[in-house]
């Protein structure tokens, strides 16, 4: 009996504490918020870490193209399974994203086209295919009978609707992805910074690419339901870009990216729960980008530091001239 009272006192105090710093305890303790927040935070953490590699490899726009390209896979998976089951839709997204990735690599290798142009063409063609298939099943006598309202959530994401099973799914993808990242940490490091050296010590760059694409693709596919095909790419690259402002060490960058991802996921989810009608994905991205811009200003390599350094240099210079 006394322990319950004790817990209540503690929780009340905790609630007061939270209220004092401007957070609403009601919302923070609600089941929906906990589920959504867990989902987005885990996703943003993993995406931030995996995406850092893409950023360092200079391929940040590939994520955008793959995100768009996973849309037709979702519709095809729906047409095959005739249900809105998260797992099968995710597998569909992974397959079509992979196909798009392979085509992008193929064209990039076998033509004089710039990667930019290849990405733009593939992105629009695949998303266009998604639109075609979506309009095809809408009025279709067979597919039209199955409720398909959830399908458009995959374009813009609808984090508010995710359930416990989706969080499980995110965990199932997140844990192996992180494991791969940690197990192959050294290999990834060499692969990113000196691909030629990596080859010379017998590290297969094909294997590394396959691993990288595998984890990137699965992170994108799980993220689609939360953030949508259009915006998933920023989950991958913005934390990485932010982290790169603060450190030059790969391990530090990974950790900072993870922190940036999870913190912005928390704040973004909170904001979207407080103000009704705000979508979670876009909120998180605005917070993330805000952190990125702040970092560009105040980090040790940032604009402010550069400006101060230059001013100090000029001051010293003028002093040494006039003294």
């Amino acid at each position: 009996m006394s322990s319950i009272v004790f817990e209540k006192i503690i929780s009340l105090n905790f609630a007061n504490l939270l209220n004092a710093i401007g957070l609403d305890f009601e919302i923070l303790s609600s089941y929906t918020f906990v589920v959504v927040c867990l989902g987005t935070m885990i996703l943003a953490t993993v995406a931030g870490m995996v995406g850092t590699i893409t950023v360092l490899k200079g391929q940040s726009l590939i994520g955008d193209a793959i995100g768009h390209s996973s849309y037709p896979g979702i519709i095809i998976a729906f047409m095959i399974c005739m249900s809105l089951d998260s797992v099968s839709l995710m597998i569909g997204a992974i397959i079509s994203g992979t196909v798009a990735f392979i085509i992008i690599q193929f064209i990039d290798k076998n033509s004089k086209l710039n990667l930019d142009a290849v990405l733009a063409v593939i992105l629009s063609a695949f998303f266009g295919l998604g639109m075609v298939l979506k309009s095809f099943i809408q009025g279709h006598p067979v597919y039209g009978k199955v409720p398909q309202g959830g399908l458009s959530n995959y374009i813009f994401g609808q984090a508010a609707f995710i359930r416990t099973i989706d969080v499980h799914l995110i965990l199932i993808v997140a844990i192996p992805s992180l494991l791969i990242l940690f197990l192959f940490y050294k290999e990834f490091k060499i692969f990113i910074f000196d691909e030629v050296y990596a080859k010379s010590i017998g590290l297969s760059s094909t294997l590394m690419y396959v691993l990288l694409v595998l984890i990137t693709m699965s992170v994108i596919a799980t993220g689609l339901k939360l953030v949508g095909a259009i915006l998933i790419s920023s989950f991958l690259i913005v934390p990485g870009i932010t982290a790169l402002q603060w450190s030059n060490r790969f391990s530090h960058v990974l950790i900072i990216a993870a922190i940036v991802g999870s913190v912005s996921a928390f704040i973004g989810t909170y904001i979207s729960s407080v103000y009704a009608g705000m979508s979670t994905g876009p909120c998180i991205i605005v917070v993330m980008s805000g952190l990125a811009f702040i970092s560009m200003f105040i980090s040790p390599k940032g604009l402010l530091a550069n400006w101060l350094r230059r001013r100090k240099y000029l001051n010293d210079l003028s002093k040494s001239i006039f003294d």
Binding site: H68, F127, V132
Partner: protein, 385 residues
């Protein structure tokens, strides 16, 4: 027979809805692909992706000012915002804190997110659907009409005609400058004109075109129209003028075939045109002069020709020799070429059909004809022997 009245001519009198849609799509495609050539040449293709997404924020902001979704000011506001996006991306990559790809990747999702948030919180009851922005509403083109000089025509068609005209004038006036700054920006600066000015002029027009086009065809098809035909033309041509021409042809073919396929299967028109654009670009990758299928075909053809040349050489070398019966005999020739009997006969038959080789039945050997002799001498010269 319908007599159009003197003062008010309706476009629907002489073109049905489908034809009006198709005409608008073709005009839009050409307007986009002309600028697209320069975007592809300057490696700016992904900027169209950024533009077409961030325009949404421009439209929302302009809507807050004008309070009218049909106002032309909305289009102008959105276009200016598009240019601002490009400027912001340029500014960000100029700080050297991020790479230019990263700058694109960070700016446009931010703008798009802001737009989605603004729409969902402040503009809920406005007819401003994020879905429509992405996918377009080609079907609605003929229903949204306006009257210009006594002619009632679809609004989208009128806007796109004006944009096409502006683009054509811009490209033809600045063709030389655009060419130089695309292929040799350093020389352009030395020659005394600012490639920065051209860049922003190009981006302004791109932004205007994208804004005018997106309402009818959607943001995704805009990307395809800008980049697809230009990319295909880039692989096929070696001069800028030809590239411009070929890209318009590609764009028109894509629009027409995509449109009719979509009508036939009753599916999204802009989606179908985007798919067809992707397909034609992919086919061009495979089939152009340096393409992979062309390479395989040429390799195969060369190998075949080389084998026949080799055969003629063999015949020519041994014809006058003592061991001709041994080397060139009907049944023994195969031992010296290490081919099987069937292959030898097939290849020799081809040479006989072409008139290079004849059968000498007295000596039971194959030997060269007069024509074959000439060919033999030519091969010797060709291979440097």
């Amino acid at each position: 027979m319908i007599y159009p009245s003197l003062f008010l001519t309706k476009m629907s009198d002489f073109l049905n809805y489908n034809q009006q849609m198709l005409l608008t799509l073709i005009i839009t495609g050409i307007a986009c692909s002309i600028l697209g050539c320069f975007l592809v040449l300057n490696k700016l293709s992904m900027l169209t992706d950024a533009l077409s997404h961030s325009i949404l924020l421009g439209i929302v902001l302009a809507y807050f000012v004008t309070k009218d979704l049909n106002s032309p000011l909305l289009l102008i506001g959105a276009s200016i915002f598009g240019v601002f996006t490009v400027y912001a991306i340029g500014l960000l990559s100029k700080t050297r804190l991020v790479k230019s790809d990263d700058a694109v990747g960070i700016i446009f999702p931010l703008f798009f997110s802001l737009a989605v948030i603004l729409i969902s919180t402040f503009a809920r009851n406005v007819h401003l659907d994020t879905d429509i922005v992405l996918m377009g509403q080609v079907i609605m083109i003929p229903l949204n009409t306006m009257t210009v000089f006594g002619v009632e025509l679809p609004k989208a068609l009128f806007y796109m005609l004006i944009i096409l005209l502006i683009n054509l004038i811009f490209v033809s006036v600045f063709l030389k400058e655009l060419k130089v700054s695309s292929f040799d920006p350093e020389f352009a600066t030395l020659a005394g004109f600012s490639s920065g000015f051209l860049f922003y002029a190009l981006m302004t027009l791109t932004s205007f075109t994208a804004v005018a086009a997106f309402d009818a065809v959607g943001a995704i098809l805009v990307i395809a129209l800008f980049v697809g035909p230009a990319a295909s033309a880039y692989m096929l041509t070696k001069s800028l003028k030809k590239m411009l021409l070929v890209s318009t042809v590609f764009s028109t073919v894509n629009s027409i075939s995509g449109f009719y396929l979509a009508i036939a299967f009753n599916v999204s028109i802009s989606g179908m045109i985007a798919v067809i654009t992707g397909l034609t670009t992919f086919m061009t990758v495979l089939l152009n002069r340096q393409g992979i299928i062309t390479a395989i075909y040429l390799r195969h053809k060369n190998r075949k020709e080389f084998r026949l040349d080799l055969l003629i050489m063999h015949l020519g070398n041994h014809e006058d020799q003592q061991d001709a019966e041994l080397e060139l005999g009907f049944t023994t020739i195969k031992d010296h070429l290490y081919w099987d009997q069937e292959t030898v006969e097939r290849r020799l038959n081809r040479l006989i059909d072409q008139g290079f080789v004849q059968r000498n039945h007295e000596r039971k050997i194959y030997c060269l004809t007069e024509k074959g002799r000439l060919r033999y001498d030519m091969i010797k010269v060709d291979y440097g022997m």
